[in-house]
Each structure stands twice: as C-alpha cells, then as structure tokens.
Symmetry: C2
Subunit: 287 residues, 2 copies
C-alpha cells in the first residue's frame, strides 16, 4: 500500500433561481456545464473558493450556500487524483455580466420527467419502455424502477430526482451512459446532457432542495422582498415539480409565523393580493 497522496480539489456550483415559474440554474458553455474551478492556495475556505470561482466565471455574487456532496474520481490517470466538492446556492436571477456562454437554464430542460405540474405523460410514453427492457435483465430491478418512476400504481416521490437520474444512467437511458461506454437499452430519455458528471450533481441539488423546502423556509432566498401568497406558492411548485392546493397552502403558511403583511397590495389582473415579506425572525436566522 502506498502512502498519503497529493491530490487536487475541484469546486462545483449549482446556483438556483426561480423566475417566470421555472427553476433556473446558472450554467457555462451554452448550458452544458456548471460553474467550477480548482481550490487555490489563496482561498480561505472551500466556500470562499467556490464564491470566488462563481464570481470570476459569471459575475454573480452568492448569498447563503450549502454543501452537496464530495466524490473522487477513480485513480486511473498518473497525473494525480481529483476530488470534486459540490455546493448548492439559492439566489435571485440577475442579468449582470451574462452573455458569452453564461446563461440561466430551466432545470427541467435537463430533467423533463421531473416536471409534473402538467399531466405527466412522459414516463409512460418514453421512459417506461426502455426501463422495461432493462428490468427484464435482472430480478431486483423491478421494484426499484417502480418506486422511482411510480410505475405500478406507486405514488410519485419528488425527492427521488437523484435516484431517478442514477437509475436512468444505470439503465443506459441517458446520453452520459453511452459517453462513458456503458450498455444502452433503448432510446435515450429526453433531456439535455452535461459535461462530466454535472448533470448528476444537478440532480443531487434538486433532490436536496426538494427535501429541504418541506421543513425549512429556504425559498426566502429565491423571492423578492415583497411577494404575494400566490408568488410563494408558484415558487415552491416550480421547485417541487407539482401543483399544490391553494386553500390548503394558505392555511399552512398562515398557521406559521413565517410571513408578515407589508400593508400594500399587488396590482395585476384580478383582485389585488396582499403583499407579504418574510418575518424579521426568519431573516435574522439566515444571517
């Protein structure tokens, strides 16, 4: 066994905003890569290094960020091994310094099957046939496929975004599987591929975010200072990928101390809605 090994650390960022009812992710290279760069000796911490790279590459300044996952590539190249550390950041979309190959992309372009706000026909029509062929190859695959994609009457669980991507990868139904030399079982599922494992990291972010919004008020970072209850609902629906019952959503929110009224009203079509902001206690907790 050889001794301790000098390695190289790569920082990768999933920066999410919600606008026009779509969750968007900040990308490079025309939507095929996430902001990323190596940890440098000038970086005071992993977080600081990540902020620095995102700012250098996209001009975007980050607020609160959260660690996602760390993985190492297999030690194949003698050039030295690399470790990737990924982070999730929530923000509001800005137009600053975009252009070039920097852009905000609707995350459902990469994972069309994850959006079930409209009736979901995609799984039945496109994914199920490929999975069925793959399932036939081994016994224990059946229940996994059913659980991930709600195949045999099982309920859809939005938190399983990562498991679904991993399953499609294993089943050879996404382009990255073919690129990595794995066997293919049919037509690829719709959805755009990304470089390296960036699409897998994005799936990790979606899973994490969907699990988090259920018990922590993180949407706070995604909304403007003032917003209506429907704005808040649409924002959560965009992330979760399914619609909510309006009355029940209001009851849930109003039963908490999350929001306070601003006293002003929003304009637009229909009856004007009260504007809210997040309560002082919630805002303090993030800082």
């Amino acid at each position: 066994m050889s001794g301790a090994q000098p390695i190289h650390a790569e920082l990768i960022a999933v920066i999410v905003a919600v606008s026009d009812g779509a969750p968007r992710v900040l990308t490079l290279s025309d939507g095929t890569a996430l902001p990323a760069g190596p940890l440098e000796s000038g970086h005071r911490s992993l977080q600081a290094g990540l902020r620095n790279w995102v700012e250098r590459q996209t001009g975007h300044t980050l607020g609160h960020i959260e660690q996602l996952y760390t993985f190492a590539d297999p030690d194949r190249s003698r050039a030295g091994r690399s470790i990737s550390i990924s982070y999730l950041g929530l923000t509001r979309e800005t137009r600053t310094k975009l252009g070039g190959q920097v852009s905000w992309q609707d995350w459902y372009r990469y994972f069309p099957w994850e959006d079930r706000r409209a009736p979901a026909i995609l799984v039945e029509s496109t994914i199920k046939p490929g999975l069925t062929r793959w399932v036939d190859d081994a016994a224990d695959r059946q229940s996994r496929a059913a659980r991930c994609f709600a195949l045999d009457g099982a309920p859809w669980n939005e938190d399983l975004a990562l498991s679904r991507y991993e399953l499609l990868y294993e089943a050879g139904l996404v382009r990255e599987a073919a690129r990595d030399g794995r066997p293919v079982h049919g037509d690829f599922a719709p959805g755009i591929a990304m470089t390296a494992d960036h699409r897998r990291i994005l799936a990790t972010a979606i899973s994490r975010l969907r699990a988090t919004i259920k018990y922590r008020p993180v949407v706070f970072e995604l909304l403007p200072d003032q917003f209506t209850l429907l704005d808040l609902q649409r924002c959560i629906e965009a992330l979760a990928g399914h619609t909510l019952h309006k009355g029940n959503f209001r009851r849930l929110i109003e039963g908490q101390t999350l929001l306070e009224e601003t006293g002003t009203l929003a304009t637009g079509p229909g009856r004007p809605a009260k504007l809210y902001r997040f309560s002082a206690a919630i805002r303090a907790e993030r800082a």
Copy 2:
C-alpha cells in the same frame, strides 16, 4: 491569486452501533478520537479508503456507509492544506480486535444533554446559565439559543444536535472552544471533549441519523437478524434520545410492510414476544 493547490485528503469515520439501549461509537485513543487516515493512492474510492482505515485501525468490517460532510482547514501551515471527508456507518457491535485503545463509547458521554429519555434537568441546571450570559452580549442570540435548547417553552427538536454543539462552541461552553483560544462564558457544559473537530463530526452524525430514521428504515443495519418490536423501539429511542408511545409505535410499524414475522417467540421475563425480521424487499434495497 495563486494557482491550483496540491492538497491532502483525510477520511474520518463515525461508526455507530446500538447495544444495551445505548448508541455507541467506535473510537481510538481511549475515546478521544474517531478512526481516520489519509486517502492513499491504493484506494479505489473515498469509500474504499475509509473502509480500509477502519479495518486497519479497529479490525471492523463495514457494511453500508454514507457521506456526512467535507471541510478544509484554513490554509495556515505552509506544509500544505488538508481536506477532511467524514462518513457515517451503521453496524452491530462486535468484540473483535478491540483492546489497545480501540473501544465502543456511548455517544451520550460526549453529548449528555442530547439524552432526554429520562427527565432532562441538565439544560436548566448547567447549560442555561452559561447561555444566558452569552445571550446578553448580542441581540439575535436569544432566539437561536431558545430554539436549540427549548428554553422559552419551545419544543425540543432532536435533529438539532449539531446546531446545539455549534452553539455551545460559539458560546465558549465546550472545552474545544477554550482549546482553540475562543472566549469562555462560564463553566463548561458536561460531556467529554475529543481531538481536533471529531466531536463536531460526531454531532453531525447524530443529527443526520436522527433525521434519517424518520423516513428511511436504516435501523435495519443496527439490529440482529431477529428481534422483537420492543427491541426495535428501544433501538430507535436510543438514537432519537427520547421515548416513544408503545401502542402508537406498534401501530406505525404494523401499518407498513417493513417487517415480517419469523413465527418464533423470544424468551425472557414477561410474556414472550413475537420475533420479526426485516422484509425481503427492505433487505434487497440495501444491497
């Protein structure tokens, strides 16, 4: 700004078992350190490296492990920077190759305030006074302290184990804070210190595990092949740090497809209980 930096990766393991109604963690150095070692070029992956170190240092072979958190030390020493990647593993306690300084330790020795299965007097008597002094120094500390330690009638949330440790560290109420040169605000809270930030990593593991058992059947790895419903309940209570209502617990478990009866009965004082095992579907999912 200097370029990419060669670094050194350290793998740290929190290995948990439950025996005699206590959650135990596998330690080195008479309970003051967790198993750990550098990633080496012979290691095929981070997981493989971790398994290798735990086996070398403690003789223990691991089952399923899960990543906890990655952090970098500030880049102070010119000797090179180090990144620590921590993992959580669940297992059953074995006596193999213990001795030396390897031992299983009740995790509540490090976090006495986390055990609320018996009436919790510790917070009121010991922690609250120190926190009160610390809170007086700044305004926003009040609500944080109250939320973490259920001070002003707020409910106790067992998932906040990490937040509680971090708060005590900030407030200078654990020994590690004094060791690191931070200001102290009163007597230290009870609980044993560990080397470096190992106690913080252990707190991370507790938080993660407590959050996970609520929606995933992970206890599976902690119990023997056959067990009674009370065994299962006691195991979960040990991890969660509070007791459960027996009837409601039974109802919850029996309403799922988690377990199947073995047909045999346990012996002991009192009426013999049915023995159960985890259902085949659950076991398959872990493999």
